[in-house]
Every structure is written in structure tokens, then in C-alpha cells.
Symmetry: C2
Subunit: 720 residues, 2 copies
């Protein structure tokens, strides 16, 4: 599955992907920042249900369950949400709130985000979708007293045109002359206006950037802590917050117990001169506490905050999700429970005690940071009046905004991000096992699909996704898909973020290339695999393109590199064969993958963008997914997951480890697509060796026709 | 010839290389800034002879001529300079000046630089060498009232130990616990001390950095504009400034006349909202004015400054160097002459007129920038008192220091740097021709050397360098070597910056690898080539290492890449074959090369460091020089120069040009060193095709035994 890598160290894909679309179509340029600026900063939306009166009244409909459902069903559900209410009526209701005495604003910015920078968010937090009617994953809505505009990028122009009514201006981000949201606000509002946001839905850095941008026209950024204006008008039709029960992620899969993880974290805090940390990324909390949840589709996480001090740890979560087993698990690890909505009062209390927090202003929301800052200043003031200035002038190291506020020590990246990325032996074992079961399901699936197509069945792209899910569901430990399946026949394969919609998708054409990018969440691991096949006879051009993508895939797979190597250094290996004939692809080559966790994780990446300077490390997992896309014709992508292992080199120049990759994915690559004359002997050997491993590892897990299919599809390729 | 690439966009190699040593031995690490911090900032020394009274008294000895001399002779000359005077006597004299009423300082910093950030500098500007006795290319001397310390890097520790007397503390930059010069000053001086520099010898950025660093201890940075304290004590023994006659670089080689170049430059100035530019890099001045000089060894440049406004252009140069022909050439191009020493008064006068200068604070010296700043502020003050604030608050775009000073618009890179790097058809033609004549000289040389060695001659590394020079001198248009030849037998080849010294170098051992890195300046082009050979039977390990270096060389040579590609993206191609067995090399892979100009130029590079983000462009020239070095055993490097050309790809994905390389260098690569079994068929084809081109292009230029040698050494390699 492809991922848009961000130029920033913080995995910005988190703000670029939705539950249904994973790849951003970004204009290629020499610039390292290729995200359409006018939808940046993109902000994730979600706040827990704070104990404000306005919030306690909301809770009628059930949020969609997270248990795996066929693509067809999920899609229909998403499409149907709240479209009964005319959009201009919503806008009118929203604007009426602008002039309420306690509010008094001129504009309101509604981002896509939840409060945790999540890639997949719960339906009740899709406020931008509710207010605008536009359901794409990326977009920012801005409403003034007389205008409403929505920014989205090239992936969603057509969809937004269909979904927005005439009250809305569509801002085609990235197109020439299209202003950013801030530029537009500076243009349409009279100087000195009040622009409001929900501070839970903006990272501190994003809010500061917006504040600075609109300050050029003397606009003021107003933080509405106690009320989300969209929620106010959404009211009774708003889905409930998700409340799936939390489960313990067994130690045999997690490998390290919670007490040890907390102890390591506390050492890092002490080393950095901090005495506490606030964790808001949902996968970091799940990993650290060996818990898994079901609050959002595709990611086994639960909505929560975690505060770890040197002495205690507090999990801020809706207690209805906490089973007795989880309660004991947490108690054993010394973790106390607190209501999700009480996070701000905890932050305030920590600040008033002078606690030095490790905060990442690029991911922690502005509500938390501002609360900490305000209370921290109060604390310092108290010390000053007592004549004790000990805690003053703490250095703010590596803070991305470079500002000094309160007593925090600020670091760019959460220490948990890297700890989570470097897998232990148990996590790796789980990943290997999950991949073999996934491979068995795929062997059964491809056997079925080829049979159906050859018998002339008319299957839609969605039919195919649904059937794949059926096969996966039969595997032990299956929980969910790890993202919405990208199933694209012919030209649809060239749409990098394509996800078929029921009733609006193609029949899988036996005469065209078919691209299938899918993955699953199992109890012990997470998978993500892309294969591109032809059911008939590919053209010479299709074969040449496929073969060059494959050569890039092989070159990256076989790379050996010093242990200090940054991911982007390896990216060109995957492109060089396409480059020889003037071809390329507009996405990165590899993203991190969690162990029974998020299918996209940082901090590492392998990309043509040079902003992410995280070295690859032993134990990390990355995808290897070069591609080639010919508009209106076909798409090719070949994706395996790789584990970064120590290479067994005869020398270790510089006294450092050299690294290499171990394949986790074992599904045949269609030999029919390969133009053998382009391959070197070594490349043919690679392919044959891979297929021999596929047979060896996966054949014990399948039988009957699937076993025959696996045998047929793992035979050695020979030079004609 | 290898080059240390700098992490900064500005080619920092300029501060890391001397006329005799080209490669920095830098510790490999994951950090992108690999320069030993404690000798950074390194500052280049040279000021023209300003019209201050103290300077006009200096001029007795002749500066060494720049015409090409045998390595042996040059070396002896350099070693002998002024070592008669005991160093402590010099220090005593220097310290006496500290307390003179007009001076009154506590410390003086003496860098290696000249006023132009030159790689090769004239002897009269080697002030750090004079005061300390240490003649290595890189180093900074700092003298306080009771201490004297010299910072240099690992290349020079042994040499510095020998050359420094007991008055000096050797600071081994890069070693654990060794302070930087600023840290040391902050440590040894009482707070609030006065630390002085010659502002001509520091770039503005370097001076600001020093100022900020020592301000931590409340030290003040004092700029001594009117006197260089070392010159004061050097006095009558100081060599004269160089005064080689300037010559016109003929249009048939330059390709574009001066008027056209000035016109393009003025368009760029206008586009940037500037009305003038100060050019201080000597190769930029030579290129812009189609002039060549002989003021320093190896680089055909003359000491000068150039100021180009929208209406005129003024060359600040010693008029004794200006021949009648040059005078006419300049007059035709509308360029006026001014004395070299009058640059500051010109800058002052421009500032007082409110001229908006394009200045690069990373290369223009602090004397010029500070003068401009002071006069600019005076100008603004004048405007303010007249009530006309028009020129206030100019935006300072991309200024590396981010400071706002005076009316300048500051840009990081000089626009001439890129214009010079992109060669026109005539420059390329000259480069191609010069390389063929150079190849003929090398064929004759290798024929001679192999004969001598096989007949048992005992030749030193210096003998070999001298003989190579003899062969090159016979070629049409030969002017000079383009750097001191690196001629290393056996273990000496592993010292990346090795230059043999007469009387202190090895006999070329027929049983060991021999590395020869050399180049020449011709009237029409500049060459730089490295070959590594064995005169007997290489070991299997030597062959494996050589072959992997060759595979990297081939991979880079054959690369095709999008026109937006930054050099560092290609670097890994040259290393990947070494990486497979855990080997690597600690230098970059490619540097820019001037056309009949400096052998090292920016702005492009191909390096494992990621700081230089200049995309490679059609018309640029880069070296391709992977290597491998085994301490105390052998060194391997294979270097050709390449021209970046448009690739003739069947597709142009993204609507952009794809680029590839054209080889300029045509000298056999020793087949004997190749382990054929490691090569792919395509790699064998590359080598055979290269040798067939070498024969075709160079055989018409040689005869007799050299022709036979060329034939023998261009036969196809066949798989056993």
C-alpha cells in the first residue's frame, strides 16, 4: 500500500490519508516539499467528550462498528451519513452561532483531524464532512459570515465538485493561483477580524502557523475551548463516540511487558531532563500499554491520552471500554484510569506543580499545549513572587517552533515513535506468522479470481475486494482490513488512491492489468501487499514497465547499506530502472508498518523527498513498493514488507553494522508480466529464489486448487 | 581528484583544501555535517594591499611564479619559506602589537584564508603558516597574550607536531574533548576580553559566528581594518603579492562574450530587485570577464574584485597585471579598471548612493559587508531625516544569517556560480579536446612507467609525478597542473590526501597497488583523472575491492535521472557494490569542474552528505570517483570527468528532461585489476565499450610504443 511521505520528520501522512484513500497525487518538482501548500496545515479533528454542558447532550446514534465489513457495506454506510440536511441550512445554523455573546467571531476553520493526528478517524469526528458534505479524507473548510470555502487536493477535485452545494467555493489546492486558507482569510475579511478554531483539532504548531499567517492582516486567532460549533449544529444526528472494548495485546505478541516499556520511557525522560510526558498518538498509547482497541476502522487503537510521570501513569479513556481483564492488566503495570475528558485538568495540575513535560508541539494539540503553557506561567509567577527562580529559563531544545513557553522541555519526536518502530523478536515473529497466513488467504483468493475470470464471470472491483475479505476472515487471528482495499482494473489502477465505490466501479477486465493493494490486521501482525496481474496477454509496453518496476523492487530488496543510512538514500535504487527510459512514479517507495498496529507509522520512510532524515535501524519494518502509472491506461505496483536486519557482511568498514532486508511477504509475482530479456542473471535468480521460498513457506498452509495455483505460480523463470 | 563536499550549499571545500592536499579525512557518521567542528569556521586569508600606510611598505621578495614546476621543486620551495626566524620571536613580536594604543587587544585569530575564499592561495597570504610554522592547508592559529594554539584536522596532526615549536599548543580538531577555537577563547580569556581579526580574512557569516560564539563570555570581536598584525612582523621577508600578467580567454574557448554575460547578469540582478553585485570569488571574475590569470598555482585566476552595476562594471585589480590586449578587451566590454585596494571606498560610495547590492555573506568578506552595512545605515539615516523612508525595511531574502542590515538584498548563492557551472558548447568542446590531449600524455606516461618498473627502475612517487608533468607539458595548450599530483604506492594510496614530498616519499613498489590522481590546466580545458594499477599480480582481495569500486563507477556513469535530481541522490549508486560486502569510502563521489578554470567548483556535487540540494543540470561537469582505502595497505580510486547531458529517453514522465552523463576522460582502466566473475554482462559491455572508445579517440594522438600500449590496454575483457 502506497504512502505519501512527508518532507517533515513528523509523519505528515497522518494528515494526508483517510480511512479510504492512501495516496496523494502530488505534483513532482525539484522542491522537497511537494504537498499542496494551500491545504497545509491540515489539521485532524477529534475531541473527546469534554465535560462541557453542550457536549453531554450529544449521544443518540451508534457509531459504526469497527468489525471488518465488506467494502461494499462500509462504502454505502459512509456515503449515507447525514446528507438529508441541506448544506446551506447547516451553514446558516453555524453562522448564527458566530454572533452569540460568548463567541463573537467572524470565521470558523474546520479541519479534517481528530485530536490525536489519527490517520483513520471515527465517524463522530468527521466534522468537516458533516458541515460541507464533502467526505474525502483531506480537506479544510472555512466559513465566514458570508462565504464558505473548502480546500482539497487533486485527488478529490471531482468528488468535491459533486458533493459541495452551491454555497461552497471549491479551492483546488495546488492549482496555480489558488490561495491558501490563510491567504484567503486575509483577503476576504476586513482587517482585525476574529478567526476561530477548536484548539483540540489543531496541533500546537499548526495553530501557531495559522495564527502567524492571519496576523499579517491583524486577524486574531480565537480558541474555542468549550464548544465545537459544528457539534452544536450536528446535535442529535451526530454518531456516538466509539466505545469498542479494549483488549490486552498478549505478551507473546508484544514481547516486552508494560512495566519494562514504562521503565525505558522514564529513563529517556530523565535523560532529557523531563519528569513527565503526554502521549496523544493512539498507536503509541496502544503499543506502550500492550493494549489494542477498536475505535476506528483499520487501526486497532482506542481513543485515549496517556500521561507518564516518574512515579505514575494515567490513562485518560472512557471507562466503559475497559474490561475487567484490561483493568487488572493496567493495575499490574501501575497505570491508573482517568476520564478521557479530564485530560486538560490533569495538564493544568501538572503545570502548576512545575512538572517538566516532554511535549511534541507538532503532534500534541493546541488545547493541551496552551493549557500547559498558561498554567506553567502561573506556576513560574508563583515561584517568582516567592523569590525562587529555579525553574525559570528552562532551555527549549529542538522545539520545532523555537519558542520558549513555560517550563517544558520540548523535543521534536516522541521517544515512543522510535521505540515502537524498532520491533523486538516477538513482534517480528508475529509479523512473520501473520504474513504467512495472509499469503495463504491470498493464494486462495488469486486461485478463485483467476478461475472466475477465465470462466467469464463479470466481477466488479468491489466484488473482488469483498471476496478477498472473505478469504482473510477465515485465517486465524484475523481482525480487520488494515486499510480500504485498492482494487483497480485498467485505468483505475493508474489512480494511485483509487478505492472502488459500490455502484460506481468497474468490472475487472480480463484484457487489462489489475492492481490490488490490500492488507489485514491480525492478532499478531499487520500486512500490506500489492500485486499487479494480467488475466490474458499483457502488451510489450505493459511488460517492460512491469519489469522495470520489478527491477527497482529487487534492487531495493537486495540493498545492503551502512547502519547510518537515511531512508531516502535508498529510494533511487527503486527508480533507476524506470528512469533509464524516462519513467518515474509520484509517490515514496516505503513507509513504516506497525506490528499488529497502524499500517502506516514513522519515523522512518524511503522516499524521494529528503526531509525525513531518520536512519533505518535494525528491527524496523518498511514497505518496498515502487510503481508506475500511465494515466487512463494502467497502474503497476509491486509491494512487499521488509524487515531491516543486520547484514552478514565479511567486512564492517567504519566499525559499524551494515544492514539488509528480510522479506515478510510471500505471494507470487506474476512471471507472465516479466520481460525476461531485460533482467540480469542475478535478477532472474532473485525472482526464482523468492518463488521457491513462497512455495516452501506457504504451500503447507493451502491445499487443493490453491496448492496447485501456488505450485504453478512459483515455477522458475527461464531465459528463452 | 577527490573532493571533500561540504554540507552547506556554498562549496565549503574551499576552506578545506590547499594547493597541496585535496581530501579531508573525515570521520564517517550519521551526521550530515562531517567537518571537524573545532576547526570550523575555517577562514581564508588574503587581503589585497590596501592603501593603508602599513601596507605600502611591504614589497621586497618576489612571489613564486605560477608556471608549472615539477612537484619536487615546488615542494622544496614551500618548505623553505621563512623558517629562519624562531617562532617564539615571532609570537613575542605579535604580542607586542596587542598593547599598542590603536590596537589594545587580548587575542588575535589568524585563519588560513585569503580575502576571496580561494582554494589555492598565493604565498604572501599564507599568514597562518608564517606565524605558526605549520604549513598544512587547513588550520587556524589563535594567539593570546600568554598562549598560542593551532587547530588542524586529522590529515595534519603529524605534520603539525613536527612543525610547531613548544610555544604552540596543537589542537587536534575532531578528537574527543578538543575545544573549538571559540570555546578555547571563552575558556582561557577573562570575561570581556577583546578578540581581534583581520575582517578581510573572514567571510561575513564566519565573522558573525565567531562574534556570537565569543559573546557568550562577553568577549568583543574587534575588526582591525587597517593593519594585519602578522604582516606587520612579517615585513621585509614577506613575498610580494603575485603579479602574473592577465590574458584574454579567447571567445572560441569561452563561447559567450563578456557583454552577453554581463547582460545576463544584469537581468538576474533586476529580477532580484538589486542594482549591483560585488563578485569576490576569483574564478567567477575570470569566467565573467573571459580573462585568465596566473596569481596562484593550479587555478588560472588573478586577484581582483568586480563590481557590476546596471550601468557599469569595475574591475579592482593591480594594473601592472593588465596587458594592453586585456585593456582593450575590457574596454570593449565596458569594464573599467580600479586599484585592487580601493574596493572598500567603492563599496562605501555605492552604499551612500543607496545601491541595492546582491551580496553573499557566506563568501564576501566581513570587511566589505561591514563597510556596506555601516555606509548603508548612514544612507538610511539621511533618508529618514529627509522624511523619506522609501528604502527602509528592504526584505532580506534567503540571507543565510537571517539578519537585516542596510539596504542589501542578500542571496545565498552568487548567480555567477550556477551560470559558470552550466557549460556552453564551446566550453564543452574545449573540455573534450583538452581531455583527449591529456589522455595522449597519460598513454605516453603509463607506457614509460610500466617499462621502467618492469626494467627494475627504482622510481620515487615524486619522480613519477615529475615525469607525468613532462609528458603533459608537451601537449598543446598546457599551462599548469590543476592540483598537486597525488602519487601513492601501496599504503600511501590509502592516505586520501597524500602528496609525496621529495626526500620523504616511497619508491613505487612493483608488488603493490599504485594510485595516481592528477590533472592539468590547458588553454581550453581542465582535467582531473585517477587511475589505480598494479605492475605485477594483484591479490584476490585487491581485485575484489577494485572491481566493486569499478562497478560503482559504472553505475554512476550509466545513471539516467530526472532533470530535478539533486547530486546526493546518485551518490549511493557508486557505493552500493562496496556496501554489499561491508565496505565504503569516506569522501564524496563527485565535484564540479571548471572549463579551463578551477578543478573544484560548485554549486553541484555528488556526495553522501545531504546539505547540497543543487539539482544537476544539463551542461554541468562532475567527477565520478568512487574509491576504497585500506589503512596501511592500499588505496583504490577510479575517476573520470562527466558532462551532464540530456538523455535520449523514449519517455519523459512528468514532462521534464531526463539527464545522463557523457564521458570526457579516455584513459584505459587496467583490466588486470578486474575480477570478471563479479561483473554482469552489462558491466563487461560497459568496460569494453569504454576501451573501444578510448582506442578510437586517443590512438590518433599517440604513436610508437604508446600506441602499442594503448592497443594492449583497450582489448575487450572476456568472461573466462
Amino acid at each position: 500500500m502506497q504512502l505519501l511521505q512527508s518532507p517533515a520528520m513528523r509523519p505528515l501522512y497522518l494528515s494526508c490519508f483517510s480511512s479510504s484513500r492512501y495516496l496523494a497525487t502530488i505534483t513532482f518538482s525539484s522542491s522537497s516539499n511537494l504537498l499542496p501548500k494551500s491545504i497545509l496545515p491540515t489539521f485532524r479533528t477529534n475531541r473527546g467528550f469534554n465535560s462541557t454542558p453542550s457536549r453531554s447532550r450529544l449521544s443518540i446514534r451508534n457509531c459504526s462498528s469497527i468489525s471488518a465489513k465488506p467494502s461494499s457495506e462500509l462504502r454505502r454506510q459512509k456515503g449515507s451519513s447525514d446528507s438529508s440536511e441541506p448544506d446551506d441550512k447547516k451553514l446558516r445554523a453555524l453562522r448564527q452561532l458566530f454572533s452569540k455573546p460568548a463567541i463573537g467571531i467572524d470565521a470558523y476553520v474546520i479541519p479534517s483531524q481528530d485530536a490525536h493526528q489519527s490517520e483513520f478517524i471515527a465517524e463522530c469526528y468527521m466534522r468537516r464532512g458533516f458541515i460541507s458534505g464533502f467526505t474525502g479524507s483531506a480537506g479544510t473548510a472555512v466559513v465566514t459570515k458570508d462565504k464558505a470555502a473548502l480546500w482539497t487536493d487533486g485527488r478529490y477535485f471531482l468528488q468535491a465538485e459533486k458533493q459541495l452545494n452551491s454555497s461552497w467555493i471549491l479551492m483546488r489546492a495546488g492549482n496555480l493561483g489558488v490561495p491558501t486558507a490563510s491567504e484567503w482569510l486575509n483577503d476576504v475579511l476586513a482587517p482585525g477580524a476574529k478567526v476561530a478554531i477548536d484548539p483540540f483539532l489543531f496541533s500546537f504548531d499548526a495553530a501557531e502557523e495559522l495564527k502567524d499567517d492571519i496576523a499579517k492582516k491583524n486577524h486574531e486567532l480565537v480558541y474555542l475551548y468549550d464548544v465545537n460549533l459544528v457539534d452544536e449544529i450536528w446535535k442529535y444526528s451526530r454518531p456516538d463516540p466509539p466505545n469498542a472494548p479494549i483488549r490486552v495485546h498478549e505478551l507473546k505478541y508484544a514481547g516486552v511487558d508494560v512495566a519494562s516499556k514504562l521503565s525505558s520511557l522514564r529513563s529517556q525522560l530523565a535523560g532529557a531532563g523531563c519528569s513527565a510526558i503526554v502521549v496523544s498518538m493512539l498507536d503509541e498509547i496502544a503499543w506502550l500499554l500492550n493494549l489494542r482497541g477498536g475505535d476506528v476502522p483499520h487501526s486497532p487503537v482506542m481513543y485515549a491520552y496517556l500521561v507518564v510521570t516518574m512515579d505514575d501513569a494515567k490513562l485518560f479513556v472512557d471507562s466503559s471500554k475497559v474490561t475487567p481483564e484490561v483493568l487488572i492488566h493496567l493495575k499490574n503495570a501501575g497505570v491508573e484510569l482517568r476520564p478521557y475528558g479530564s485530560i486538560l485538568s490533569e495538564i493544568e495540575s501538572l503545570a502548576l506543580k512545575g512538572t517538566e513535560l516532554w511535549l511534541d508541539p507538532s503532534s500534541i494539540n493546541a488545547a493541551i499545549v496552551n493549557t500547559y503553557k498558561a498554567a506553567g506561567e502561573k506556576h513560574l509567577e508563583g515561584l517568582r513572587t516567592k523569590g525562587n527562580g529555579k525553574s525559570q529559563n528552562r532551555d527549549v531544545s529542538n522545539g520545532s517552533s523555537g519558542q520558549s513557553w513555560g517550563p517544558a522541555r520540548v523535543y521534536r519526536a516522541s521517544p515512543i515513535s522510535l521505540a515502537k518502530a524498532v520491533k523486538n523478536a516477538s513482534e517480528l515473529e508475529g509479523m512473520r506468522n501473520a504474513h504467512l497466513r495472509d499469503a495463504a488467504a491470498l493464494a486462495q483468493f488469486w486461485t478463485w479470481l483467476e478461475d472466475e475470470i477465465h470462466e467469464g464471470a463479470k466481477l466488479t472491483e468491489v466484488d473482488v475486494s469483498d471476496k478477498l475479505l472473505e478469504f482473510r476472515k477465515k485465517q486465524d487471528g484475523f481482525i480487520d482490513t488494515s486499510f480500504d482495499t485498492i482494487s483497480g482494473s485498467g485505468a483505475n489502477g493508474a489512480i494511485i488512491h483509487y478505492t472502488p465505490e459500490p455502484g460506481n466501479c468497474s468490472i475487472v477486465d480480463p484484457k487489462k492489468l489489475f492492481l490490488l493493494d490490500s492488507g489485514a490486521q491480525y492478532i499478531d501482525g499487520t500486512t500490506d501487499i500489492t500485486r499487479t496481474v494480467h488475466f490474458g496477454e499483457p502488451t510489450a509496453h505493459e511488460k517492460e514497465c512491469f519489469t522495470r518496476v520489478l527491477q527497482g523492487h529487487i534492487a531495493l530488496d537486495e540493498a545492503v547499506f551502512p547502519g547510518t543510512t537515511v531512508g531516502f538514500v535508498l529510494d533511487a535504487f527503486a527508480r533507476s530502472f524506470l528512469w533509464k527510459i524516462g519513467l518515474d512514479y509520484r509517490h515514496g517507495t516505503g513507509h513504516g508498518v506497525g506490528a499488529a498496529l497502524n499500517v502506516h507509522e514513522g519515523p522512518q520512510s524511503i522516499s524521494f523527498r529528503h526531509g525525513n532524515t531518520t536512519p533505518l535501524q535494525k528491527g524496523m519494518i518498511v514497505s518496498n513498493e515502487p510503481g508506475y502509472y500511465e494515466d487512463h491506461a494502467f497502474g503497476i505496483r509491486i509491494e512487499n514488507l521488509l524487515h531491516v536486519k543486520e547484514a552478514n557482511t565479511p567486512y564492517r568498514f567504519g566499525g559499524i553494522s551494515y544492514l539488509a532486508f528480510e522479506k515478510l511477504t510471500f505471494v507470487p509475482i506474476q512471471n507472465k508480466m516479466v520481460e525476461v530479456s531485460l533482467l540480469s542473471d542475478a535478477e532472474i535468480d532473485w525472482l526464482n529464489d523468492y518463488h521457491s521460498q513462497v512455495w516452501e513457506k506457504v504451500s503447507p498452509l493451502v491445499e487443493g486448487s490453491a496448492s496447485q495455483w501456488l505450485w504453478d505460480n512459483t515455477r522458475p523463470l527461464v531465459r528463452q
